[in-house]
């Protein structure tokens, strides 16, 4: 039925119905923000209550029992494209929910948070999930007094923030001074001759202080890398690649981002070059190099980088 309707069937104001003492009690308690069930002669608690025991048709007792409000999902379906008549206008679940203390289940909508239209059911939605009603502020004595159910709280996000004033040390200060001028500086070890970048003021291989400065080009080779699927403020997008890059002439690889190429095409031995931010944005920080980008050169054979992996 795609075109506009030419016939609308409506019951203005709806039907007026007597609810009787059993359903009436449930709806009255609902208006007061309480969930109650009715006890059967056999001792079971029916929620929502009916006048008879569904098992044998016998009248229920007059005993009402407060249940829930927490409950357990017995089964669910996931509506990824809500209809206009549905209680929520974003993807949600229908669930049969057995309130704590009840022997039967109540059907209601389960709101699991914001999802885009058409979204697949979230993985955390499971039979057995613990849920609670979200009450409407203005209640009238109707099943809709519960706006929806929501998952019980099982996890929190505990924010943490600490501030530091770090001292990089003399060697790092000197390295960053180079970076702020668009230069990549390293130290050459007097003993083994390798160039250490970023410099640390000593050779990790020989344990001797280093002072001889060498400037290295912005080109290098990926020795190894990782594909990251969790967002990071420094990365352009997910997935991003962090890699160890052996700058040409360096004796130690350094950690940096690799971009400008799909994550699944990054490889060991790939040649890359530093992508600098515009000169006017330079500060004394490694952020001056946005990331490393592919260089149009043949890959370096594994043999040549195997000691740096």
């Amino acid at each position: 039925m795609s075109e506009a309707p030419n016939h609308v069937l409506e019951f203005p104001g709806g039907y007026t119905r007597s609810v009787g003492p059993v359903i009436g009690r449930f709806l009255t308690e609902l208006r007061d923000g309480r969930l109650v069930g009715v006890r059967t002669a056999g001792g079971r608690v029916l929620v929502p209550p009916t006048e008879y025991d569904p098992a044998d048709g016998e009248p229920v007792t007059g005993e009402f029992v407060e249940v829930g409000p927490g409950g357990t999902v017995q089964t669910w379906s996931w509506v990824s494209r809500p209809r206009a008549v549905h209680p929520l206008d974003r993807p949600f679940a229908w669930a049969l929910i057995r309130p704590d203390g009840a022997d039967t289940a109540l059907l209601h909508a389960l709101d699991l948070g914001p999802f885009e239209t058409g979204a697949a059911p979230p993985r955390f939605l499971k039979t057995g999930m613990r849920v609670r009603p979200k009450w409407r502020a203005e209640r009238t004595g109707a099943i809709g007094d519960i706006e929806c159910f929501r998952p019980e709280v099982t996890m929190i996000n505990a924010p943490t923030r600490l501030e530091y004033r770090l001292q990089g040390g003399r060697a790092l200060d000197r390295f960053l001074e180079g970076i702020s001028q668009g230069r990549i500086l390293g130290h050459r070890c007097e003993v083994c001759g390798q160039v250490i970048v970023p410099m640390k003021g000593l050779c990790p291989r020989d344990g001797v202080p280093t002072t001889e400065e060498v400037e290295l080009p912005g080109t290098g080779t990926v020795t190894t890398f990782a594909v990251n699927n969790l967002p990071d403020p420094r990365a352009p997008e997910v997935p991003f690649v962090s890699a160890y890059i052996l700058l040409d002439g360096a004796g130690l690889p350094m950690l940096a981002l690799v971009a400008g190429i799909p994550a699944d095409q990054v490889r060991m031995g790939m040649r890359v070059k530093a992508a600098w931010r515009p000169r006017e944005e330079w500060v004394a920080s490694m952020a001056n190099i946005k990331w490393f980008e592919p260089l149009d050169e043949p890959d370096v054979p594994f043999e040549a980088i195997k000691d740096f992996v």
Binding site: M1, H7, L9, T50, W76, W78, P87, W94, L96, T104
Partner: protein, 350 residues
């Protein structure tokens, strides 16, 4: 394995429309008239001892819509007539009861509906209780999906098993000139998870009619009458929250009482693919039973006659001699709440 008694009742004729997915301009009455004309011609009967129909006013959006359909039957001089606001399979049950009383020996049963005129999943919300379910706006497909989830989790069946049911039904439906001819299930997203669009019966307009006759009258009207060996219908609690949705206790009981054991063909009123799996289990249908060789409701679901068509299709296998003992099933209410089972056989197979 006894020979039919003169009081036994048989399906002697079955006619249905070539069902369509969209209204082709015909009104309900126009849909029904050719079916009634054909079944009168086929049986040579112009008048019936009793006439009973099944339809639903909410499909047409008009009260007493079944009354105008009586024009197709010819209700003058006045006839003995009744109507159920349900699938016409329940009209057949009422006619069967009337025949059992013994005062009449023929009955006409028909059902009709055009579900393409409204929004069927929402129209079906009107059948829910007005206190706890209907005000939520929960629709038919969402309710069915709750049952599908319960069945998958209890049985260990996978969504691919549902897809296999849909694929088999659609394949069979393409061989049935009366069904919609639907392609094999594609890569579709969820309708209401875990159900995908092909797991849900298509919107269908159509009508069907059956003639029942008693004893010798049945033999006069039909070369191979399909004798009703057992017919039973059972109802469970309305509220889905008090039932084990993964099973159909009502279908199990109705099947047991009607004598479902040993049938060769079963036509099941499964409007969602998981319902076929639940019903197979409840009715004890083994791998050797041909289920829905017509394509079933997943290939054509003319609401209010789809259940009657299951009995008609099951009878047609007896009429044409291709099966000796068959079963027709109909359902009503949310999540297979009510189930009717009708077991049929030829003369030689009690």
């Amino acid at each position: 394995m006894s020979a039919p008694l003169s009081t036994d009742i048989a399906v002697v004729a079955f006619v249905q429309t070539e069902h369509t997915a969209e209204a082709a301009g015909a009104s309900e009455v126009e849909l029904l008239a050719p079916v009634i004309t054909e079944i009168k011609e086929r049986t040579g009967l112009n008048r019936f001892g009793f006439t009973c129909s099944g339809s639903n006013d909410y499909l047409a959006g008009a009260p007493f819509s079944f009354v105008s359909a009586l024009d197709t039957v010819g209700a003058w001089p006045p006839i003995s007539e009744s109507h159920v606001e349900m699938d016409a399979a329940w009209a057949l049950y009422e006619a069967w009861v009337k025949l059992r009383h013994g005062e009449i020996d023929t009955a006409l049963v028909y059902g009709f509906g055009k579900s393409s005129q409204g929004v069927l999943p929402e129209i079906m919300t009107q059948q829910l209780d007005p206190y706890y379910l209907a005000p939520l706006g929960v629709d038919q497909v969402s309710l069915a999906a709750l049952q599908a989830r319960a069945y998958l989790e209890r049985s260990g069946a996978k969504e691919d098993d549902l897809r296999a049911v849909a694929a088999r039904s659609r394949r069979a439906g393409r061989d049935n000139p009366f069904a919609l001819h639907l392609p094999d299930p594609g890569d579709e997203g969820y309708d209401v998870a875990p159900l995908r669009p092909y797991d849900v019966a298509p919107i269908t307009d159509g009508a069907a009619a059956v003639v029942l006759a008693r004893g010798d009258r049945a033999r006069e009207l039909c070369e191979r009458p399909a004798w009703i060996r057992g017919i039973d219908h059972r109802s469970e609690a309305h509220s889905p929250g008090v039932r084990d949705l993964s099973r159909s206790e009502a279908a199990r009981l109705a099947g047991e009482r009607a004598g479902a054991a040993g049938v060769e063909v079963a036509e099941l009123h499964a409007q969602f693919s998981h319902e076929e799996l639940i019903l197979r289990e409840a009715l004890g249908l083994g791998e050797d039973v041909a289920v829905n060789p017509s394509g079933g409701p997943l290939s054509a679901n003319p609401v209010m006659s789809a259940g009657l068509i299951r009995i008609g299709e099951a009878a047609a296998r007896i009429h044409d001699g291709s099966a000796a003992r068959t079963l027709g099933h109909a359902t009503s209410g949310p999540c297979l709440q009510q189930n009717l089972v009708c077991v049929l056989s030829g003369d030689d197979h009690g």
